[in-house]
């Protein structure tokens, strides 16, 4: 069942509600449906599927094996779960210093790639032949469709309002033996002056709620349940680099940046060095005095990489004229920096992907599905 505004929506009780049908929520829905087909499941999403401009659709979708030992198992499991979705194009990790398994760039890179770098600054390269790329948006759509085919309900354009077991010191109604949560689902509509308004509200009773809303997830838990978590958020921009790539071009990594071949060019993926403060409004920076769409921190990352990745200093980098010109999204920054889940109270769980959801997100969603299946 796909429920849209205007369609009737009958059920008022579910075993599991997943708030957010992005990459983490949709994967969880699929895994949970496979593990426990007996549990009724509702997937609620505020936007479309996957959200047209959220973190999922803009995710680079780069898997590689360069993870710390304690994450290796999750990364390898994620690669298995990615299956055919992964195109194994390899990844070239360019380095200033020789290290284990590095080779001289002149032996590995073709003349085109050699022309994009300064081999004096980055003379060494390590090839990760198992690395590859995938579309996080396609994968998420597939997961959601599978979950629905196997009996999950999906509600789009709906905003969830959570309630804890207590409100202002008064215990709330707790139907069901194991405790249950009450969730208000506000179904959104758009007026002809482009304002998002609540069309009507459906109250559902749910035994287990998973918040998989990405960057706003922790704020949702805090506003609704009063549970403060250490997780944060950051706004990541992924500008285009208009130099030619083909489907066989490897991913390039250097100086903290990842260059992901995409749509005949590249997407430049800067690192997320630290969370942005609460209340930050993304703002374009200035390049030699001229306003551009890249925020200052993105410019810093790109400029630091320019001596080695000389291709960034050319005409190909799309810097834009204002923040709206550059693809960007708010990402969760989970405490510890890796995808994670945690139990918030008797009935609520939090699932977070973030910057490294590409590497271990599916395995973490599967772990939570197993934990929920066992409850």
């Amino acid at each position: 069942m796909w429920a849209h505004v205007g369609q009737p929506f009958a059920p008022a009780r579910y075993d599991v509600l997943i708030v957010g049908a992005g990459r983490m929520g949709a994967a969880l829905a699929r895994f949970l449906r496979a593990a426990r087909p007996d549990l009724s499941l509702l997937l609620a999403e505020e936007g479309g599927l996957p959200n047209e401009e959220g973190a999922t659709i803009l995710a680079p979708g780069v898997w590689h094996a360069d993870v710390p030992p304690e994450r290796r198992e999750e990364a390898e499991r994620t690669r298995v779960l990615l299956g055919d979705a992964l195109t194994p194009c390899g990844l070239l990790d360019l380095q200033g210093q020789a290290g284990p398994a590095t080779r001289p760039v002149s032996e590995v890179l073709g003349p085109d790639l050699l022309g994009w770098i300064d081999a004096g600054v980055l003379p060494h390269v390590r090839l990760d032949g198992r690395a590859g790329v995938y579309s996080a948006g396609q994968l998420t759509l597939g997961h959601a469709q599978t979950a629905i085919r196997e009996g999950a309900d999906l509600m789009l354009n709906v905003r969830a309002e959570l309630h804890g077991h207590e409100l202002n010191g008064h215990a709330l109604d707790r139907p069901g033996s194991g405790g249950a949560a009450r969730v208000a689902l506000h179904r959104l509509s758009v007026t002809n002056t482009h304002q998002v308004v609540v069309d009507h509200t459906v109250n559902v009773t749910v035994a287990r709620v998973v918040i998989a809303a990405g960057a706003p997830g922790p704020a949702l838990a805090e506003a609704g349940l009063g549970i403060v978590t250490p997780h944060r958020a950051a706004y990541r921009q992924t500008p285009r680099l208009e130099v030619p790539s083909t489907s066989g071009t490897p991913v390039l990594r250097a100086e903290g940046l990842t260059l992901r071949p995409q749509s005949g060019g590249f997407t430049v993926v800067p690192p997320v060095p630290h969370p942005d403060p609460w209340g930050y409004v993304p703002t374009g920076g200035r390049l030699v005095g001229v306003p551009v769409g890249l925020r200052r921190e993105t410019l810093d990352a790109v400029m630091r990489a320019m001596p080695g990745l000389s291709v960034l200093a050319g005409e190909g980098l799309v810097v834009g004229r204002s923040i709206a010109d550059i693809p960007g999204a708010w990402l969760a920054v989970p405490a510890g920096d890796w995808p994670t889940w945690e139990r918030l109270d008797d009935t609520h769980w939090l699932l977070l992907g973030g910057e490294r959801a590409d590497l271990t997100g599916l395995a973490v969603a599967e772990q939570l599905a197993q934990a929920l299946a066992a409850t």
Copy 2:
């Protein structure tokens, strides 16, 4: 000479111009004046002296010996330079784990202090008997007055506009054998509708310019000289804790926070975990849904410390109702996190204090004075 708007200002040529009469600039002026009384020196400050709400007047002014080995020499030199300004009240470093030189809190803390902490969470304490407090504002005023008494000129309410040696590709006039910088000093006035306007502009020719403007320093270098630096900035709030202290009360440090006895109560000094993004406007957060003046990141730091420092959970912490209620200032975040100076080009230097200016700032200002004296 103290020059104010409305007074005549004759000299148009100086050997040294220091932009900013905060704690770093004023200390530099004093040290340089002592080392090279033959050099004519102008100290230019945008606000008053010290600036009524800048980083200097809000600096905690806590010196302690807990610095990494490579900073020990600078910290000890700073203590010598502080001299009588330092009140050696000691510092109690409360810890969860026993370490070298820790003792049980029950042996060291009096009953009043013991009532403020949870000795189960923070059972150990290390006493730094050489630590002490000082007023960074008083010290800065003293440094500036000494420099002026010994012949430096001071210009208040003046904004400096720097120029590189090239502008749009054209070499600028470079009078003087060793090169010289041209600086436009815009003298500010306030209209009766409280707008700050440029009253008039004085152009000066200077052999050496030191940018000691605090958090805006790197932006000044970039806008005027086109020199991009890796330094950043952060907005630090220092809320009041209204529980009684006396002049003999030691500084308390626990869970990353410093509690500095001040004016019969305490100032709570949270850490600066990372820089704020460019364009960030400080915004109050929410505490159990209610808007407060503490920004979210300050709330996080305070709440993390509450289990150990139970006094923070009481009525004494002033959380305010909006950002304007809580004392706060933009701090430089120098690359590497410690006070530092660097030469930007032939005629320009950058001097930065930041969060740890309390510990090593004076020694770093003295180092730069020696370097300039030798040129």
